[in-house]
């Protein structure tokens, strides 16, 4: 295993981590975590059945 292989793996893991971080930033900014109470009740909506 050369130093380049390790470097590539490190780079890959950093990129994956950053991608997850950006996803998180986007989710917070678009209000995904604003309502922590409501969604659990929405499962009772039966629109698809009606």
């Amino acid at each position: 295993m050369t130093i380049w292989t390790i470097g590539l793996l490190i780079f890959g893991s950093l990129m994956l981590g950053l991608a997850a971080w950006f996803l998180f930033l986007w989710a917070v900014k678009s209000g995904e975590f604003d309502d922590m109470e409501g969604p659990k009740y929405r499962i009772f909506d039966e629109d698809d059945i009606e």
């Binding site: 997850a20 917070v28 604003d34 929405r42 039966e46």
Partner: protein
């Protein structure tokens, strides 16, 4: 959910007991309004309910009635909406209008569903989302197709009131920024751990030096945003505190994290060991603690606003014109002292005034806590916000709009909210001594080191003392215990708002109780029937009385009807109601009267000598036939179950118990005697309750808990060290209180005090663990013997101890 009331059930019920199909209020048979829907005959209490039912029906949203389980009944309150103000808040983006607004009247998830679905059915609506927690609606639509007033009208049609969004934008922003900072810190901490672990391994097994250097650089890069972005507020707070020579929690965090970070930067260049993971973990764990805390806090002034909105904003001004008087609707704020206004039956009083003409009974329970409606005649005072029952009153305005009793209560609650100083947390006090101590120790280590070593080595030793002294589990010690404590409470039906409450509740000296609604049920119940005629037994008396009272809406009537459940009622004809006095009607040919003693005297049916003596303070109503009195019914506000036991067990713990009530002397002394309380005060106004508690707190130096349920208790609940609102209390009491009991069980008062004692003890032990572990490692750091593995080990061990001890509370707190 067997009691889920389908429409069909409501119809079936109606043959026995008429209930409005929309609002579920009971309907008197001669007042019912019928409507045909899908071939079914439905009963409504008023045209308004029928109209709303029709709206919902024609929109195809009847499933609303199936999903509103556990609804309490109540007439919808419709208020005016300021369209212009809403119009200003609209934002346009690519031809799409977007509006954020608050919707009042949302009680449950069904409300959210109804508003969203009904809006989505409008043509031109793009999205409509309602936030269940904050009652905020975000609506976007095509302004070419749809106008704002249609949307507002739609929401109003269902009885909800849209208001311009005034929710706490700042609070919302704070939560988001906290979440962003914590999320960022934890993502980078996870990445960083990979490299730190590799470096740990390298420390023991050896590592390629260039790879080791590269890893240190990457670790440094990953730590930087955590220190400066996630930890920014701590650095700022510490800097501000330092300028005024104070040491706060922020100082400790900033000192530990920043010194670890800068030492690591230095070591990266000089090929030493790095402690980036320590710096990052301190900040991440503390942010986690803050996030847990922020979830537990409640919004305070929201209910206050809603309550103020209950008072009608329009008033019927009486204008004299050419010997004729007519009424004009004017804004309540513009009416002047001395002007006359009229109140119709079923209306709320808009402003305080003196009755000039007419008589009625007024429900003042929201202000005085008194459960009986109060009779109002000429020269009596009526109060804004109270509910007029059945008479028409002409009232002369007595105070300015902003000086009414209600306005004063609201103001005093607001004052108390502001006045309450932020509680200095126990941890903060500890930190105040800890930080300077650690700094001195670091200096001592530095001077010892430079006696034998180089100055640079001395600096490293001093900094490592600072790092090792900063206990990152300190940030978790308090929030974790509180999280477990509040979670335990919630499971038992005790809602605790915030951790500072637990701190204040753990050593209460005196508990002050409200009477009506707290010690007693607040609902009139039939406690005794005394037959006065040998011809009738108790059951026959109740059957007759209930048949008559079925026709009345009075609180006393409701008490008798409740007692008569399961008894077959008789048919009544020729009913006549005499407001404030009683009722008469014909049952199987005979005339019967039911009402107050005065009503009996007026009907000349009375023989005073035969009456049982009245030595107590209970309400009595009489039933009479043509031949004379038949029975006496004793109606009272009953003591709640467990009230006596609750008081006794508090007294056993050495806690003083007192009653303060707005009710009359006699009624209060009866309850006090029944509960074994010697210290009681009666006929207290809300402001006097506050003063009573203030006196206990300031003059006697006691820590006081107030237990109450009414709006009149709200200022006292805020003033006391701990305010406890009992189940089924008013919204305003629940918002003002620190602890809300969710179940109708007075024993929860003792349990909540016990729980806070246990939780507070756990917090103390947690802090000891958090600090203790680092104390053990400190000597190693002072001697310049700091392994990074020792650092990480101490950190993990103390965090685990804190978590374990907090969870242990679950077992101990079994109560």
């Amino acid at each position: 959910m067997n009691h889920s009331s389908c429409l069909a059930d409501t119809v079936a019920d109606s043959s026995i007991d008429l209930v409005c199909a929309h609002c579920r209020l009971p309907v008197a048979p001669w007042e019912k309004i019928q409507g045909q829907f899908d071939g079914q005959e439905l009963v409504f209490c008023c045209q308004g309910c029928r109209a709303i039912y029709e709206f919902i029906h024609t929109d195809g949203l009847e499933s609303f009635y199936r999903r509103r389980n556990g609804w309490t009944s109540g007439a919808p309150v419709v208020q005016e909406v300021d369209l212009e103000l809403l119009q200003q808040n609209i934002t346009f983006e690519q031809g799409i209008a977007r509006l954020e607004l608050s919707v009042t009247g949302i009680r449950c998830a069904s409300c959210v569903w109804l508003i969203e679905k009904s809006l989505e059915k409008l043509e031109g609506i793009q999205t409509a989302r309602v936030n269940y927690a904050s009652h905020k609606a975000v609506i976007s639509w095509d302004p070419a197709i749809l106008e704002l007033k249609d949307i507002v009208g739609r929401i109003q049609r269902y009885g909800y009131t849209p208001r311009p969004y005034d929710g706490n934008l700042q609070e919302e922003g704070e939560f988001r920024s906290l979440l962003l900072r914590f999320g960022t810190a934890s993502f980078f901490a996870m990445q960083l751990m990979t490299y730190s672990f590799a470096l740990y391994a390298g420390y023991f097994h050896g590592m390629n030096p260039s790879l080791r250097f590269a890893m240190k650089i990457i670790a440094g890069l990953l730590a930087t945003p955590v220190i400066f972005y996630s930890g920014g507020p701590f650095l700022k707070g510490a800097f501000n505190a330092l300028r005024s020579f104070r040491f706060t929690m922020d100082s400790l965090i900033a000192m530990g994290a920043f010194s670890a970070y800068s030492l690591s930067l230095f070591q990266t260049c000089t090929n030493g060991e790095v402690y980036y993971d320590t710096a990052v973990m301190i900040i991440t764990l503390i942010l986690l603690g803050r996030l847990i805390e922020s979830g537990a806090k409640g919004r305070a002034s929201e209910a206050l606003k809603q309550f103020a909105a209950l008072v009608p904003d329009k008033v019927r001004l009486v204008v004299e014109e050419q010997d004729q008087s007519r009424t004009v609707m004017i804004p309540a704020g513009s009416i002047k002292v001395g002007q006359l206004f009229s109140i119709l039956p079923g209306e709320r009083v808009a402003i305080d005034g003196i009755v000039v003409e007419g008589n009625s009974e007024i429900d003042e329970s929201m202000l005085s806590g008194e459960s009986r409606p109060v009779k109002k005649e000429k020269d009596d005072l009526v109060l804004g916000g109270t509910m007029n029952h059945f008479g028409h009153l002409l009232v002369k305005v007595h105070t300015d709009h902003d000086k009414t009793v209600l306005a004063q209560i609201i103001r005093s609650v607001e004052d108390a909210q502001v006045r309450r100083a932020p509680v200095q947390a126990f941890a903060d006090r500890l930190v105040g001594y800890f930080v300077p101590g650690v700094m001195v120790l670091a200096l001592v280590a530095f001077f010892i080191a430079i006696q034998t070593q180089a100055v640079s080595a001395g600096v490293i030793i001093a900094v490592s003392v600072l790092i090792v002294a900063c206990p990152c589990s300190l940030g978790l010690a308090t929030p974790l215990a509180i999280l477990v404590g509040t979670g335990l409470g919630a499971g038992k039906g005790i809602l605790i708002k915030g951790g500072d409450v637990l701190e204040r509740a753990h050593n209460i000296d005196e508990v002050v109780l409200d009477k009506t609604g707290t010690l007693t049920t607040g609902i009139m119940t039939l406690v005794d029937v005394i037959p006065l005629s040998p011809k009738f037994d108790k059951n026959a008396c109740i059957a007759l009385a209930a048949s008559l009272e079925k026709q009345s809406e009075h609180a006393v009537a409701r008490a008798i009807c409740t007692a008569a459940q399961g008894i077959n009622l008789k048919k009544v004809t020729d009913v006549a109601v005499f407001p404030g006095k009683g009722i008469e009607g014909r049952i199987s040919g005979d005339m019967y009267r039911m009402g107050s003693l005065r009503f009996m005297e007026e009907s000349c049916l009375i023989d005073n000598s035969s009456l049982p003596s009245e030595t107590d303070h209970l309400t009595r109503v009489y039933l009479a036939g043509d031949a004379g009195l038949i029975a006496c019914f004793v109606i009272a506000d009953r003591l709640r179950e467990g009230a006596r036991e609750m008081v006794a067990s508090l007294q056993q713990l050495g806690i003083e118990v007192a009653i303060v009530s707005g009710d009359q002397e006699g009624a209060v002394s009866d309850v006090a005697r029944a509960c074994g309380i010697t210290n009681y005060r009666s006929e207290f106004l809300p402001a006097e309750k506050v003063k009573f508690i203030d006196d206990l707190k300031i003059k006697k130096g006691l820590r006081v808990a107030m237990v109450g349920d009414g709006i009149n208790d709200a200022p006292a609940l805020m003033t006391a060290d701990v305010g406890i609102a009992v189940a089924k209390g008013t919204d305003i009491a629940m918002e003002s209180a620190d602890i809300v009991l969710l179940r109708d069980d007075l024993g929860l008062i003792n349990k909540s005090l016990e729980l806070s004692r246990q939780t507070f003890k756990t917090i103390k032990i947690n802090l000891l663990w958090a600090l203790g572990y680092n104390m053990i490692v400190l000597p190693a750091a002072v001697l310049g013997f700091l392994h990074p593995i020792l650092c990480a080990g101490a950190m993990t061990a103390s965090s685990l101890c804190v978590v374990g001890n907090s969870l242990w509370l679950k077992k101990k707190g079994g109560l």
